[in-house]
C-alpha cells in the first residue's frame, strides 16, 4: 500500500475524505474480540445475546474508531499525526452490515507552530442509517514550506 503525504496547503474546508467501506463479518467480529482480549458473549453468542433482547451478536463500538482512523490515516499519510477523535453511537451494528465511513474538512488553522485540520466524520450502514454521528477528528499536517522538517 502506497500512501502519499497530504500537506496542509492541499486541504480546503469542504474537501471530502475518500470513503472507506467495510463489510463486517462474524469472523471479523471474533477477530477483533480476540485481538482486544474481549471475550464477552455479546460479540459471538447468538443464543446468549437474544436472551438479553438483542437481535444477535453486535459489533464492538470501538471498532468504528479503528475504521475511522484507517480512513483518515490512509488519506493523510504517515506524516499526518492524529490529535483527537470523538464519536457518538447512534444505531448498533451487527455482523453482515456494510458500513461506509465518510468525512469532510470543517476547519484548518495554525496554532503553536502546528498546522491543524478538523473534519466531521460519520458512518452509515447499508440502510442509510447513521451508525456513528456526530464524530470528528483533529490532526496535524506538515506544511510544504517545512517539507523534510522534523515531524
Amino acid at each position: 500500500m502506497e500512501s502519499k503525504d497530504l500537506f496542509y496547503e492541499d486541504v480546503k474546508v469542504g474537501d471530502t475524505i475518500p470513503p472507506l467501506v467495510k463489510k463486517i463479518t462474524l469472523v471479523q467480529n471474533v477477530m477483533y474480540s480476540a485481538a482486544t482480549w474481549d471475550f464477552h458473549r455479546h460479540h459471538y453468542d447468538r443464543e446468549f445475546i437474544q436472551s438479553k433482547g438483542f437481535p444477535g451478536p453486535f459489533v464492538d463500538g470501538q471498532m468504528f474508531g479503528a475504521f475511522l482512523t484507517q480512513m483518515v490515516t490512509q488519506w493523510i499519510g504517515p506524516k499526518g499525526v492524529l490529535k483527537k477523535m470523538g464519536l457518538n453511537y447512534r444505531v448498533m451494528a451487527f455482523p453482515g452490515d456494510t458500513v461506509t465511513c465518510q468525512g469532510k474538512v470543517t476547519e484548518k488553522y495554525k496554532k503553536d507552530g502546528e498546522q491543524l485540520v478538523k473534519c466531521d466524520l460519520w458512518i452509515e450502514n447499508q440502510k442509510g442509517e447513521k451508525a456513528i454521528a456526530p464524530a470528528y477528528v483533529l490532526f496535524t499536517l506538515l506544511s510544504k514550506e517545512i517539507q523534510g522538517g522534523k515531524v
Binding site: 500500500m1 500512501s3 467495510k22 471479523q28 477477530m31 477483533y32 480476540a34 485481538a35 482486544t36 482480549w37 474481549d38 471475550f39 464477552h40 458473549r41 455479546h42 453468542d45 446468549f48 438479553k52 433482547g53 438483542f54 463500538g61 470501538q62 471498532m63 474508531g65 479503528a66 475504521f67 482512523t69 484507517q70 490515516t73 490512509q74 504517515p78 506524516k79 499525526v81 492524529l82 490529535k83 483527537k84 477523535m85 470523538g86 464519536l87 457518538n88 453511537y89 448498533m92 515531524v151
Partner: protein
Amino acid sequence: MEKASLISPEVKAMIGTEKIFSSLEEVGRATIRRFAIAVGDPNPLYWDEEFAKKTSYGGIVAPPTMVFELNHNLGDEISEEDGGYSDKILLPPPLTRFVRGGNEYEFFKPVRPMDKITVKRKISQIYEKEGKAGPLVFVIVEISYANQKGELLGINRETFVFMPGKES
C-alpha cells in the same frame, strides 16, 4: 411530586473513584499485527519493521486506537457466564441495562511493541438525564494510558448510558 433520583448515595460515591492496572509484559508486535488484521487495515507501518524504520516513526507502532483496547489485556478474571470481566463498571439495580454512548480519544504518543502499559481508570462524572423512554444515567469514565517511562500515550473518555431494564 418529585421523582426519586436514580443516583443513589451508593452511585454518587462512585464518582472520582480510580483504579490502576499495570501490564505484566510488553505489548509485543503480535498484538499490534493482530489488531491491524482484525480491523482490516493493511498499513505496513503496523507489521513491517523495514518499512516502518523508514518512516518518521522509526519503527513499528500500533494503530492509533489500539491503545484504548489494552485494558482488556490487563483485566482480571473472565466470567464463563457472559464472557465479561469481573471488574467492569456496574451500577446497582434498577440500572442494569447499559449501552455505549460515545468515545472521545486524545492521542499523545503511538504505542510501540516494547511498551509496558499502565492504565488508570477514573469515573469522572455521573449524571441523570430524562430520555425519550425514561430516565437515563450517564457515566463518564476517563481512562489514561502510559508506558513504562511514564509517558502519557492516550486518554479515552467513554460515555456509558445506564437505564432500568434487562441486564445487558
